[in-house]
């Protein structure tokens, strides 16, 4: 049967092509297959990266392509690294990054631990919890903008009901103090299910006999949790933190939809600042330098993380 298929495929190959392929080594054929992928990778990833590095040393403006481009050396980097606005955007990013990862890991792990218990309707609950993650960030942004409305928003109503305050007395998106927390809440709502799924995979990979052995040794539930569950889920948790950390470091769409970086620049994350420099002020060279700084930071963090992950796996 398989011979027939082989013959059929060979027969279907055009004669000219068959003649060309005939006599090629396995290595050459492998290169023919891999070549297009490597070419695409170079064209789509590596070339733009090298071009951005090149642009970061110039005063190029994308809206004035006929203007003479001068090489300005490291002056873009010097200006960025002494710019208080960029510094503020980095602090806003740090606040967003730290609290989203903290809440997502905490709530995601707790949910995974609860879902892992066998109970009726387990699958239905999993589906319901996972729903926010399946929505588009633009939809989520719009949806939460309505929820955060001071007059008609459900979020304000619930908080007002629970705290006894007037629901229209506070504005989540318009207040300098509350806006950074409003984006943390939405990102946590949207991406906690992702962390939960990864933790759930970790929890389900722990064999039952380990817990049975611990029971025989009369280890308490708390002891089992800290000496079996946590260490065995840790590589999965670290992977989730890596994914969410990198994603949130370059977070753009959700925050633009919710606050647009405001009020003032309190929620202007690094990527939003980068977009404003590149496509509102049209300082392409300057914004390329910001992009390179962000890239090096993410690359450095990812290197540490991969190393840590390998060490945990070895244990």
């Amino acid at each position: 049967m398989s011979e027939k298929t082989v013959d059929r495929v060979a027969g279907a190959t055009p004669v000219l092509l068959a003649r060309k392929i005939k006599g090629l080594s396995d290595r050459a054929i492998a290169w023919i297959f891999v070549g297009p992928t490597i070419f695409l990778l170079l064209a789509v990833n590596i070339f733009p990266l090298i071009w951005t590095v090149n642009l970061s040393f110039t005063n190029f403006k994308a809206n004035r392509i006929n203007r003479v481009v001068d090489y300005v050396g490291f002056s873009n980097y010097e200006r960025i690294l002494n710019d208080p606005d960029v510094w503020l955007s980095m602090q806003a990013t740090a606040h967003f990054l730290f609290w989203t990862i903290f809440f997502q890991v905490l709530i995601g792990f707790t949910l995974a631990w609860l879902i892992n218990k066998k109970f009726k309707g387990n699958d239905v609950w999993t589906t319901i919890i996972v729903l926010p993650m399946m929505l588009s960030p633009a939809v989520v942004g719009n949806f939460w903008t309505f929820l955060y409305q001071p007059q008609i928003g459900l979020f304000n109503y619930v908080i007002g009901f629970l705290s006894g305050k007037d629901a229209s007395s506070f504005e989540m998106l318009g207040s300098v103090d509350l806006a950074p927390w409003s984006i943390v809440i939405v990102d946590t709502w949207m991406w906690t299910p992702f962390v939960m799924l990864i933790c759930l995979a970790g929890l389900r990979s722990i064999p039952d006999y380990i817990y049975e052995a611990a029971e025989v040794d009369r280890a308490s539930k708390l002891r089992q949790f800290f000496t079996i569950t946590i260490p065995m889920v840790l590589p999965f948790l670290m992977l989730a933190v890596l994914f969410r950390g990198i994603e949130n470091f370059k977070m753009f769409d959700l925050v633009v939809q919710l606050t647009g970086g405001g009020p003032g620049s309190t929620t202007e994350l690094a990527s939003i600042h980068l977009k404003r420099e590149a496509f509102e002020k049209w300082r392409t060279g300057y914004s390329s330098a910001i992009a390179i700084i962000l890239f090096v930071t993410v690359f450095g963090l990812a290197s540490i993380y991969v190393k840590a992950l390998n060490k945990v796996k070895e244990r």
Binding site: L81, L301, I304
Partner: protein, 62 residues
């Protein structure tokens, strides 16, 4: 501690990776801290040195 310095002198991967990791972490902290502007100014060069060092030393012998 002396093992660490011996490892550095003998160009072993472990201690050099540790040094690179500390530099990257320090650079990222300096980039995002809200305390001093000079920390932010020198953050990129610290992270860059750490990252390049990490790439190079990960090819050293164990």
């Amino acid at each position: 501690m002396s093992n660490f310095f011996n490892g550095l002198l003998k160009l072993r991967r472990g201690p050099w990776e540790m040094l690179a990791t500390v530099l990257i972490a320090l650079g990222v902290f300096m980039l995002m801290q809200p305390f001093v502007l000079w920390g932010f100014t020198y953050s990129f060069i610290t992270t860059l040195v750490g990252t390049v060092m990490f790439i190079i030393v990960s090819h050293f012998r164990e």
